[in-house]
């Protein structure tokens, strides 16, 4: 069990900055994110785009803003659990909470901060017969440990950069790699597309264009995939592993079941301190809603500052908080 003062669900920009605001008040944080990296939408949707409305930064690339936030909170040494989705909140008798993830990680904390943005990023699943049945029995939505595919027959599907990159990478590891793509050209990074055509030309991989995987077969474990061509032809390929790579899309997920007030996929909060209808649970950033809400990073930062002042009473019930500027005390690491 991990013990901390504040557990933050979501390591997007707002969850990250909340660590700073908590740190100024001497409260420790642990962050959990379903993505394997920090940064939320900035990392997943637009890492290379410039942002123009961060005060004091006339233009900043999304990825750089995330790096800067990580530097800014480094002194407060937050803990991270990445690549796991928060599933449940368990209230303890003394009012504290245990936050649990899908991988069984538990975080014990005094205050829960939901900074979950648009929801947790989950793989986009293609419409393939028997797909869910074979999850964990040959179907993977991410390549975590490439070694697990050594000497196996792997079919990848998709036309984006990750499908191209993993095809190239696994070509050296797997016994056979087949890439199936709906279109007839790839527009991912030109180098990668070039390499994939080259590998196919040399017979090192199989490339099946203008086609889609439509059915999986096997007896308890995956044995084959059936591929339907745009010309209605059907090809059956013996397969140990099927990896559809169609990116991620955010889903509100378990948060919807926590008895919080939810309106249009967002958690209703009191603008006095961004608290939810449940004591010790706050919601900040894109995940919350209130009259006049603007989904901007800057607004999420403001909410984090206000909310941490309110959370202080649960972490230090015997102390009185007096507001001070960082210019008075500086930033005191722990």
């Amino acid at each position: 069990m991990i013990h901390t003062d504040i557990c933050i669900i979501g390591a997007g920009p707002v969850g990250l900055f909340a660590v700073f605001e908590a740190g100024l008040l001497k409260m420790r944080c642990h962050l959990i994110d379903a993505l394997p990296v920090v940064g939320g939408q900035l990392a997943e949707i637009y890492p290379q785009k410039p942002i123009y409305d961060i005060p004091g930064a006339p233009a900043i690339i999304a990825e750089d803003l995330v790096d800067n936030l990580m530097k800014q909170i480094g002194e407060f040494r937050p803990g991270f659990t990445l690549g796991e989705r928060v599933e449940a909140l368990e209230k303890q008798e003394d009012g504290s909470y245990i936050v649990r993830t899908n991988e069984g990680t538990g975080v014990h904390c005094q205050v829960v901060v939901i900074a979950a943005g648009l929801g947790s990023f989950e793989p986009r699943k293609p419409a393939v017969e028997q797909l869910e049945y074979f999850e964990g029995k040959g179907v993977h939505y991410m390549v975590r440990k490439p070694e697990q595919f050594r000497n196996r027959k792997v079919v990848l599907a998709g036309g984006g950069d990750s499908a191209l990159d993993w095809t190239i990478f696994l070509a050296d590891i797997a016994e056979r790699v087949t890439l199936v793509h709906r279109g007839d050209t790839f527009r991912g990074a030109p180098d990668s597309a070039e390499k994939v055509y080259d590998l196919a030309g040399k017979g090192k991989i199989d490339l099946i264009l203008q086609a889609q995987v439509n059915k999986l077969g096997g007896n308890g474990v995956l044995k084959e995939v059936s591929i339907l061509g745009n010309d209605k032809s059907v090809t059956v390929v013996p397969t140990d592993d099927f990896i559809p790579l169609f990116g991620l899309s955010p889903k509100l997920g378990p948060i919807a079941d926590w008895n919080l007030g939810v309106e249009k996929s967002a958690v209703v909060v009191d603008t006095f301190d961004y608290s939810t209808n449940i004591e010790r649970i706050y919601a900040i950033g894109d995940i919350n809603t209130y009259p006049g809400k603007l989904k901007l990073i800057l607004c999420g930062f403001h909410e984090a500052a206000i909310m941490m002042q309110s959370a202080f009473k649960y972490v230090y019930p015997d102390q009185k908080l007096s507001f001070k500027y960082t210019t008075v005390n500086g930033v005191n690491p722990f």
């Binding site: 637009y46 599907a157 998709g158 036309g159 984006g160 790839f186 527009r187």
Partner: protein
């Protein structure tokens, strides 16, 4: 003003009156009519939450640019009739277009 038709899951079509002189994208028009599309990237061809299927009138539309095609490539259920509504600017030629909102089914 042109008419664009939205077909729902049960095959019923509703007509939208769409201005062609105000510079709105089709995504913005759909939002203005309070269709439930997220359009989280605000029209940058990044999020794909404004995905539509063109049922009639594909030939009336300009071709997709690379950004749009890149993003469509990341969708498991995109096909030859898929477009991103944020990348389409209603023009007089698009009168009578029939579309279905695909992003809703992905959610």
């Amino acid at each position: 003003m042109i008419n664009i038709f939205i077909e729902n899951d049960s095959g019923k079509r509703s007509a939208l009156e769409v201005p062609t002189d105000m510079g709105f994208s089709l995504m913005e028009i759909l939002k203005a009519y309070e269709y439930d599309i997220q359009a989280t990237c605000g029209g940058m061809a990044l999020c794909a939450t404004c995905h539509i299927e063109v049922l009639e009138g594909m030939e009336k539309l300009p071709e997709s640019n690379d950004n749009e095609l890149d993003t469509l490539d990341t969708l498991p259920n995109a096909d030859a009739n898929s477009r991103l509504s944020c990348q389409l600017r209603p023009s007089d030629e698009m009168d009578g277009l029939v579309i279905r909102l695909k992003a809703l089914q992905e959610a």
